[in-house]
Symmetry: C2
């Protein structure tokens, strides 16, 4: 019997989830729900309006929420948790405790199970921070993002006068990564740990110097970062910068005793940010389904799910082949 | 109230556990048990004979077994699980199912909880294989070990006529790591993935060519590997090769759809193999303690322990600061 999955929302992340579900033999995509009407899915699975969600009560084991953190999930996840087991990738770090409390309350009251903030950061990166800090309590943790596309920064550049299109990459400073790998513990924050590379298509006759200046002095986005701006043609951008790659590094450098150092590193190199996030959501949907079957009620995070529950293989198989 | 820990066996690994326990504020080392008599511990904690083990029933929450996999643990862990919750780092991969069954039976019959095969491989590397394969079911997994000291191979060299001392390092082939990181999926096994570096102190007048030949033709140890032999002085070996560093890499390269590739990498660079293994055992002892308090009975592995249980921090703290 396969795990029946529904998807709420149908943007890039949802299509990533849809793609990943094909690779999991014990799961079946039953329905997609969207606010937009008249759309069809890549896989041919029917797309329903949000108003039809409740007609699927009892027919879907796990609902995967693929809306945005800024606008959708704080309302959607509690709403869906009232009627279904569900999982989201809510990533507004500062609001996680509030979102958790909201979802937990509704899920518990209605006997459902939910996982929030599941992806790669928050998600796999968070897990690796907790594992590494638990093993090496005396040490320094680092998180670097990239090289990857920041959608928010790309959008911000596109709003500048004279800019037709733009792509911004966040890049970790390789020299810092190397220092940490070799046992040094530099002081690093988001600003000093990363550079920002901008690829910009300017309109004919636009003042490129002014555009570059506008980018570099943009508060909350570029001020404080080492930023480089490259003007390229639309063709070049379309050919070389249309993907949405991302990734990053979580490192923990710690000592068990003075002079005895250990470095733990976890890294991701992703051709597609939404497809990988989707793949994580799908694996955790299996964990969520099992947790629900074991009587778990309320909200959970990646920290609460035993790794074995993510795998399609039995405990015996895992011990024999993966341990 | 702190978690009361006992250590069984007092070699390198046990001293690694002892060192790590100092860094965990919620844990307390109560006693060490050894077959050897008249020894004292680094931390001053009393060392008792194995015959006194049972006098500590009810006084120790988790017993950490630090004996060897080849000779001790298959007997010791079931014996100790009869009377205590316990954890070991059993690493004879082929015998894990048998060892698990033995420990599970005794632990269940006596109402105790046990974790077996907990360290970095088996242990953290196993975990990372399961996480990565669950997220990317379509792909290729790789495990590389090193650069690190292989005690077994060093011992084997020392048994050759004319050899006074020796140290053998297992080294991953960097070019293969780079290929995998860049999206290639070469076919790799233990032989083709690693080289073996030997540092040998020969006695005066020994036939070095013959020693080198003996090493390179040693079955089950060096045949099939790219092996290099360096003859050095005892002083040089004592100065540069007395540590027991180790580490390695677990990689998963997988596609979510054709042409969309993701690479997940986990790596360890360890100044001291036994100290890091000890640190992992200590973190999982906390998980074991909580599992026991939640009514878990029988044998478990790292696959069964939710990450949150390894951390001294509460679920709220983890969500607020690590997610």
């Amino acid at each position: 019997m396969s795990i029946k999955i529904g998807i709420v929302g149908y943007g890039n992340l949802a299509r990533g989830v849809e793609t990943s579900l094909h690779l999991q033999k014990d799961m079946e995509l039953v329905a997609i729900f969207s606010r937009r009407s008249g759309i069809t899915s890549v896989s041919g699975v029917p797309v329903y309006g949000m108003d039809e969600l409740l007609t699927f009560k009892g027919k879907i084991d796990v609902m995967i929420l693929c809306g945005g953190s800024a606008t959708d999930l704080m309302e959607q996840t509690p709403m869906v948790a009232k009627h279904f087991n569900c999982i989201d990738s809510f990533d507004t770090h500062a609001k996680i405790p509030e979102h958790f409390a909201n979802v937990d309350k509704v899920a518990k009251a209605n006997g459902h199970t939910a996982i929030i903030s599941c992806g790669w950061d928050p998600g796999m990166f968070s897990l690796n921070r907790v594992y590494a800090e638990s093993i090496l309590p005396q040490g320094t943790s680092y998180t670097f993002w990239g090289r990857g596309v920041s959608q928010g920064h790309s959008d911000a550049i596109r709003r500048i006068d004279g800019v037709l299109d733009a792509r911004q990459y966040t890049c970790p400073k390789e020299n810092l990564l190397d220092e940490i790998r070799h046992g040094q513990t530099p002081t690093v924050d988001a600003y000093t740990g990363h550079t920002r590379e901008c690829y910009v298509v300017a309109s004919d006759g636009a003042d490129k110097q002014k555009i570059e200046q506008s980018i570099k002095t943009m508060k909350n986005y570029f001020v404080g970062y080492e930023t480089t701006v490259h003007f390229i043609s639309q063709e070049e951008l379309d050919t070389h910068h249309k993907g949405i790659p991302h990734g990053g590094f979580v490192l923990r450098s710690g000592e068990t005793k003075k002079g005895t150092r250990h470095v733990i590193e976890y890294s991701l190199t992703l051709d597609s940010n939404p497809e990988f996030t989707g793949a994580v959501l799908v694996a955790y949907s299996r964990g969520l389904y099992r947790l629900a079957n074991h009587g778990g009620k309320g909200a959970y995070t990646v920290f609460d799910i035993a790794p074995a529950w993510l795998s399609p293989h039995s405990a015996e198989e895992l011990r024999a082949h993966s341990l």
